[in-house]
């Protein structure tokens, strides 16, 4: 297994820039998520790592070796495609051992490898079946088998769960993660599903329009978004944005939201103009005493908690509150924000304003 380093990677298709100068590092054995909406360049980035696309500029190092100009066959990586790309004219066995045949491995060794892999994936009993009649999950396992069997330096997976039924997805996600932990394989995983990314990843890169927005562990990205895009994209429901004209100066511990003072983490930069107060739904509490008033529009009951939609003077917000709290539609309630978990953004640049909360994260970005 190996670490993967990407430096200033760029890909242009004519006038269109798919990936703009990306740099990040995937540590040895890490489960690394490339996350973003469709068309954000995450798949292109991964295809460049695989060697299926050649970068316009920039370097890719796998295990310390510069592979930027090398064809896919010479990179010793395995790719799991979204639609699995199992060879339809072969049975399961031949699909799995196909890469080994190419290497010219001896028959007894191929047999041993096949036995090993089919045991790990529990597909011993379907080896002689044609791939056409397999269920989604079995196809997925065969595709993984074909990837694992070669002992590649890294696994690249392009939305491998995208083609599965919802109910099966959960199980496969767990299986994938367990498999990764057992083999300790460096894995780069592309997805547009933020829940999947949070659930499985050791580290996440969030991309948008070919640009890396943020790069870090799931908790960091969730709690300390550096741009409004990340704050909005991660989390369900996403972060609430309260837009207001105002100003912050270094050492401020509160801002004036309309007529109300809202406590925020210690600010470290100055900014004036259109600001955005970002707060996650679970960091809003409803209390009768709160000075900031809002009207309840709706409530969705989710079992353990409920999502309350409220109308404030700064637009709609959603709050995640305990399920046993009674909330009536039309009621006027007070809101309180968890002051340690508020991020302020500058509306124009959509970037977070430096504060005690996001200090280390912003400087990295």
């Amino acid at each position: 297994m190996a670490e993967i380093v990407i430096e200033n990677l760029r890909k242009d298709y004519g006038d269109f820039t798919a990936v703009q100068s990306s740099s990040f590092k995937v540590n040895d054995g890490e489960f690394f998520m490339l996350l973003g909406p469709s068309g954000c360049g995450k798949t292109t980035t991964m295809r460049m790592i695989a060697g299926l696309e050649m970068p316009t500029s920039g370097q890719i190092y796998i295990d310390g070796e510069d592979v930027s100009g090398k064809p896919a066959a010479k990179r010793n990586i395995a790719f799991v495609f979204q639609m699995f790309a199992l060879y339809p004219h072969m049975n399961v066995r031949n699909n799995i051992i196909y890469p080994l045949k190419c290497e010219g491995m001896s028959r007894p060794r191929i047999k041993k490898k096949l036995a090993e892999v089919s045991k790990i994936l529990r597909i011993e009993d379907i080896l002689n079946r044609p791939v056409g009649g397999l269920s989604g999950g079995d196809r997925q396992r065969v595709a993984l088998g074909r990837a694992i069997v070669r002992d590649p330096k890294a696994f690249l997976m392009d939305e491998p769960l995208g083609a599965l039924d919802v109910e099966f997805r959960e199980r496969m996600a767990e299986e994938l993660r367990a498999l990764h932990d057992r083999m300790n394989a460096t894995t780069v995983y592309v997805t547009h599903d933020q829940l999947e990314a949070m659930q499985m990843g050791d580290k996440i890169v969030v991309m948008n329009h070919g640009v890396i927005e943020q790069f870090g562990a799931p908790q960091i990205i969730y709690d300390k978004p550096v741009t409004m895009f990340v704050a909005d994209f991660i989390g369900s429901p996403s972060m609430n944005f309260l837009r207001f004209p105002g100003k912050v100066t270094p050492h401020d511990t509160s801002v004036l939201l309309g007529n109300h003072t809202v406590e925020v983490p210690l600010q470290l930069a100055a900014c004036e103009g259109d600001l955005v107060l970002g707060v996650r739904p679970e960091h809003i509490t409803l209390s009768d005493n709160g000075a900031y008033r809002a009207e309840v529009l709706a409530s969705e009951y989710l079992g353990t908690n409920q999502i309350v939609t409220l109308n404030t003077e700064h637009g709609q917000v959603k709050a995640r509150v305990s399920a046993n709290q009674t909330v009536n539609t039309g009621e006027n309630v007070g809101l309180e924000f968890n002051s340690g978990q508020i991020t302020l953004f500058e509306e124009q640049s959509e970037k977070a304003i430096l504060s005690e909360l996001n200090e280390g994260v912003l400087e990295d970005g």
Binding site: L52, A73, A78, Y87, C102, E103
Partner: protein, 313 residues
Amino acid sequence: MNNFSVTTASRPQKVIASILVALYALITLMPLIWIIMTGFKSSSDAIAYPPKVIFTPSLEGYVNLFTSQTRLTSEQIATTPPPEAWYDKLVHSHQMVIVGPSRFGQRFLNSVIIGFGSTFLSVFLGTLAAYAFSRFKVPIKEDLMFFILSTRMMPPIAAAIPIFLMFRELGLSDTKLGMILLYTGVNLSLAVWLLKGFIDEIPFEYEEAALIDGYTRFQAFYKVVLPQAATGIASTAIFCLIFAWNEYAFAVLLTSGNAQTAPPFIPTIIGFGGLDWPAVAAGTTIFLIPIMIFTILLRKHLLSGITFGAVRK
């Protein structure tokens, strides 16, 4: 009338459908049946009026087809020893004697070489071209594809005179190579268009998977794409072969001795007293056999192939 169903037919519906199918089959197959029957008739039965449906089968037509004969005078008949083999006896009864094989075998072989040769070449070149058109960025791709299609917009025979002159200049007249090239030229546009459709249907991911598995681009092509395009290749091959096999006009125009194919030869089999109809019918019957075998062998592919991959998984 209270249980309409799309999939199960009622009994009268089935009977009517079967009758219609049988009738259609009979109408379509009638000429074929008539030719096969004529091949086994004697010369007089073949031209009898009203036509004979019940007749005594005779192999006269087949013997005449494969042999060349000469007429004997009455003295010669008296002096030659009585014939021994059945075919000798057969011709002897018409005061004829076999002097050697006819040219039919050679013509038939020409048809096989030219037909299968041009089919192979069309499909081979067509597959490569279609793959390139399907997978690579070819400059002015759309225009090139249209140009290729446009070669089919007029009947090939409309270009007969230029082709005739070109073939004479190039020394290709009456050569097998010339005919193979000509039929390939005519078939290639069809092959490229058909095959491009089939190759477009094969997801590029399979090749990418093969590339990542360590195969080269060309290995990915022939180990992954070709097996999956087999259906398309088979149906394209049938279309090409049927054209090349049956082509008549160019064969009449451009070939005479060396490279003549069976179609222009068969109708010219002349016996004594006009066309030898049983021999012509026998030649046609034999001529049908290779293409029937070829089509039957590939018919599974043909059936799934002519849907143009519309329902392919």
